[in-house]
Amino acid sequence: MKKNILKNSAVQTLISSLICILLGLLIGYVVLLFINPEGASEAILAVIKNFLNSSRANLRLKNLGNTLVKTAPLLMCSLSVLFAYKVGLFNIGAAGQFVVGSCACLIAALGFGWGWLPCMIFTLVVGAVYGAVVGLLKAYCNVNEVISGIMLNWIGLYGTNMILSSVKEPTSPYTLHLASDAPQAILPSLGLDKLFSNNRYVTVAIPLAIIIAIIIYVLLDKTKLGYELKATGNNKNAAKYAGMAEKRNIILTLAIAGALAALGGAFLYQTDYEQWSVTQSSVPGMGFNGIAAAFLGGLHPIGSIFASYFIQHITNGGGYVDLTKYSSQISDLISSLIIYLCAFVLFIKYAINSGIAKREEKQAQKLKPASDGADSGKGGEA
């Protein structure tokens, strides 16, 4: 018998994610209709088209490059959330780990004058330590990782503002430009910038983020450590009984997750694409969008590559809507709707599975009377 393609769990994940995206866009469209009926279609198309809105080909390439520049840090945040979730931990602290990562790489670059590689390694270490704090609190003090993560997000934000005040421009709240003050800390581009019509922000960060996604996939699915971590996530007590160090595993997981999110900060700020504003009063959305990307990608490292790109694509696309009629936050609205809908993914999968089961049962029943008939026929002969 031919195997039903819908039974494949990867296909199911893809279908559910697409349903979430479509519903999210649809609700976003309805909201636009309510705000201002004329121009709603143009606005939602502008969000979906993103860089395709530009008229000239080289500008389009450049804007695609800009989207990719911000996709790399988002992918790192989504990997951070995903990695922790596989071990049964909800790393909402990714947002704060991203912030301290940004702080670490900027202070190392501008304050200490380090090169790009030491900056990145420093960021990695700081992020791992910051993530491990959540792990320690969880393992030894039984503090819910969501609450401690949120508290650390705010502590990290205010701390970062305080530390980076020492390297800001004298007349503005923004940190100094890396290009002029610390060019040694900018990530190498390896000629990638040429591919995107000389977009100087396109650096090694983009391929590096994809490589890390693949490493995370291998680590989780093909190694003993990954198996142990997932086992701890599934049942802490069973893992402990089987001789795994469950406390160590929790701390290690959050340290790795913290390092991943912090690297995201390095991948964004070490390209000089953005400057940190030391008067910021809310935690940057990068880490929270990482949650969206992780779940939209079906909690699979490779899936999150595509999901991160999609989330960043519509976030950048929000900048193209007609700002006299709508606000650019419409893309935040759509991506948060998508996260909400992702909560129903399990249900969608369940619906697909039970649908298949019902159809198979019907087919089996159709076959059954025929065979019953054959049986009774035989009986009649005897």
Partner: protein
């Protein structure tokens, strides 16, 4: 000093209201991480009332209208949590997080839309309420009494009586401890959990409007509520899910939050010359420490966070 007491009481009222909301949801067995989003929507509901109800109506009408607006928005928004986590058995942490993001995004888009509609040049997400705000304040010899202080005390009394002295409250708590047992004696677990979530919507909405009325006369909805929903959850855990203890915890946390507003008024604190960001960090650091010390022997409802499935044993 008077100012410090005033701010402490206002912020304690916010934390108390929201924490009680979380307390009801958790006692029914649903973790409400979306309180932050509920607060934003409650604030939006109240702020809209203040914008559209003419400022000429008597003060008491204004107060009631604002309260009703906040409650209505809070309750409606909490339905998102109810549907997903009770009927569709979704991951409650994920739903709550999504609600927080959605709350801020939706409120921003909405407020910007109405601002731009009334004045095409206005693309801000700010609602002003200088005049209507006065209905909430009573000046007693330099101390600005805020009606919300009274509302918080009433809410505390109501929560205590409902949870411990009524049939409904005891049944609600049973659903958070052992839903299968509750079901076996004829309690409808789904209904009880819905009740818990909706009540948390009422309290969360009230807390939200109280928060934006605390110190300022206009609110920029892009900013959300600065992690107050989560601070309230910390208060709830520190208060061990018991209303009276939650009230004491709220006072403590309120004090630290108030310090960041008024520390410059104290000569000895100002003389220490600590940067203002340290005071901003204080409430979060204190709550982390407090959680680290108290979570070990937590008395959390046993079945919280686990979707109730009738077929499961």
């Amino acid at each position: 000093m008077l100012l410090l007491i005033q701010y402490t009481l206002v912020f304690a009222s916010v934390l108390l209201l929201v924490a009680l909301g979380g307390c009801f949801a958790e006692h029914s067995g649903v973790i409400n991480l979306g309180l932050e989003g509920i607060m934003v929507l409650g604030a939006l509901g109240g702020a809209l009332m203040m914008r559209y109800v003419p400022a000429t109506v008597p003060g008491i009408v204004m107060v009631l209208a604002v309260l009703l607006g906040a409650i209505a928005f809070g309750v409606l928004y909490s339905c998102l949590l109810g549907v997903a986590s009770i009927n569709f058995k979704a991951d409650q942490t994920l739903v709550g997080t999504a609600m927080n993001l959605l709350g801020t995004a939706a409120a921003t888009v909405f407020v910007k839309a109405i601002n731009t509609a009334s004045n095409p040049d206005d693309v801000s997400s700010v609602i002003q309420y200088i005049e209507p705000k006065k209905a909430f304040l009573v000046n007693i010899g330099g101390f600005e009494f805020n009606w919300f202080m009274l509302i918080a005390v009433i809410a505390l009394a109501v929560a205590y009586v409902t949870l411990y002295k009524t049939k409904f409250g005891l049944r609600l708590m049973a659903c958070g401890e052992h839903p299968q047992a509750a079901d076996s004696v004829g309690i409808n677990v789904y209904k009880m959990r819905w009740a818990g979530v909706l009540i948390s919507g009422i309290y969360g909405g009230l807390g939200g409007i109280c928060y934006i009325l605390a110190g300022v006369s206009e609110w920029k909805f892009e900013n959300g509520v600065a992690g107050f929903g989560f601070l309230a959850l910390a208060v709830m855990i520190f208060g061990q899910w018991k209303p009276t203890r939650i009230a004491l915890a709220a006072l403590l946390f309120g004090l630290f939050r108030a310090l960041s507003n008024v520390y410059s008024g104290f000569s000895f604190l100002a003389a220490l010359n600590i940067p203002s960001t340290v005071y901003n960090m204080m409430p979060y650091i204190v709550s982390l420490l407090v959680l680290a010390l108290t979570s070990k022997n937590s008395r959390a409802p046993k079945a919280e966070g686990i979707p109730y499935d009738k077929g499961q044993r």
